[in-house]
Amino acid sequence: MDPVFLGQLLLNGIVIGLIYGLIATGLTLQFGILHIVNFAHGEVLMVAMYAMAALLPLFGGDFFVAFAVLVVLASAVSLLAARGLLAALATGGDGGGIFEKSLLLTLGVSIVLVNGVQQLFTSNPQMATTSFGYGAFALGEIRLTYAHALASVVAVVTFGALFWFLLRTNAGRALRAVAQNREAALMIGLDPTRVARRAVAVSLVLSAVAGAVLVPIIVFQPTVGQTLLLKAFAVVVIGGMGNIGGAVAVALGLGVLESLVGGFADIVWQNAVAFVAMIAVLAMRPQGLFAAAIRKG
């Protein structure tokens, strides 16, 4: 086997896996803490991409400045959105609980966002140029574009910050606490709504960060979020609904596996990898997967 080819495939897979991971950890947080599935999670990423594309020219194509501004904006908007979502989920209804309600509401939000953005910006493919253009590192014969490298660094730093937050801060511990045992959280006087709001806001920012780092890599349309969301959804299911570390590991594994499948077999099977794995896991280890869902439902 050709080590350069293999190395390049592995590297590509890791980068893609890291980006899947950014989206999937957000979904996982929402499921783990609130037991909801957010169909509009991909649209958060999509809106962030459009925002990033609008911001870049304002700062002369300087990715870092635009990125910083985007993260600040996204945090503010996410807090508001999280508050709105939780308030909406808390309204009385007959639809069979918060889980079903979240699916229906976020599906509605997703439809409105995709079509609204299309109405505003048309569905023309958007391409944003950044200061680092098409440049790439050469590691021997293996190439890593600046854009991919940057996405990887941002993802790794984000994961680091996320884990630090979850493991070392009181707010992060509270998040894990509510995810692990809502009743115990109440027992010690943690406010689950406040914690949930924080979790949703963090997860939306994660998705926005994923969108921002994708801008220099891919050309996008209003539907860009939907394809990526399906992958992230598979990652969350395989990774054990609500397990952040699991989601990151599975995302990386999926990225690498897809890359290898694309490199050595037919490219159409790349998409099948996620779904076949999901079905296999559902068939073989569903109880492990749904541990969190069972507790609630």
């Binding site: 894990r176 606490a177 692990q180 045992n181 109440l186 027992m187 010690i188 006087g189 406010d191």
Partner: protein, 238 residues
Amino acid sequence: MDSEAVIETAGLVVGYGGPPIVRGAAVTVRRGTMVTFVGPNGAGKSTLLRGLAGLSAAYAGSILYNGTQIAATSALERHAMGIVFVPQGRCNFGRMSVEENLEIAAHGIARAERRAARAYVFGLFPVLEERLQTMAGNLSGGEQQLLEMAMVLQTRPQCLLVDEPSLGLSPKMQADIFGKLGGLRDAGMTIIVVEQNVRAALAVSDDAAVLVNGEIVMQGPAPEVAGDPGIRRAYLGH
């Protein structure tokens, strides 16, 4: 003994959104005493306890806490007032260490006072200090019960509500738990317990209330309740 009522309910109707489960409960709990709710399965003991904690809904009636009406307050507000509820079963963060569990439970305590709070619960339950780095989920059932009590006791609650503390524990462990609860009561804490092991609970309780079918059918000093022939037949095995 101070006979001032810490909790006093009147005409309390409690349920979980559906039909009422506890109807017209009038309970008085005096400061620094331990009260046990006894009754058959499904009588509404836990529901009443959760009603006091704010975890099930009060449809009607009043709950006075130190003379203040709290029937409309949330569980979190009651927690802040010092009414703390320990649910039955394993109610800790199983995938975190004992230390993390204690740390997170101390979230409401000022940083400067945390060390003292920690020392206080280690004094009560020395075994936890030895198990500080163990995952909570890997502790024995009894140790987990101790951990949960330690978690909530850090904040020195005024009123401790415990649902089935002896569930699934060895007799030795049960005795140990009731001993600790008795000690806390002796130190001035007001405690309400729902307990299947009626004999052990009544042995350390000051008062008891008997629920049947959502209504309180008997209430009084624990020895009196324990001495009632009907109760003896139904719960004490002779």
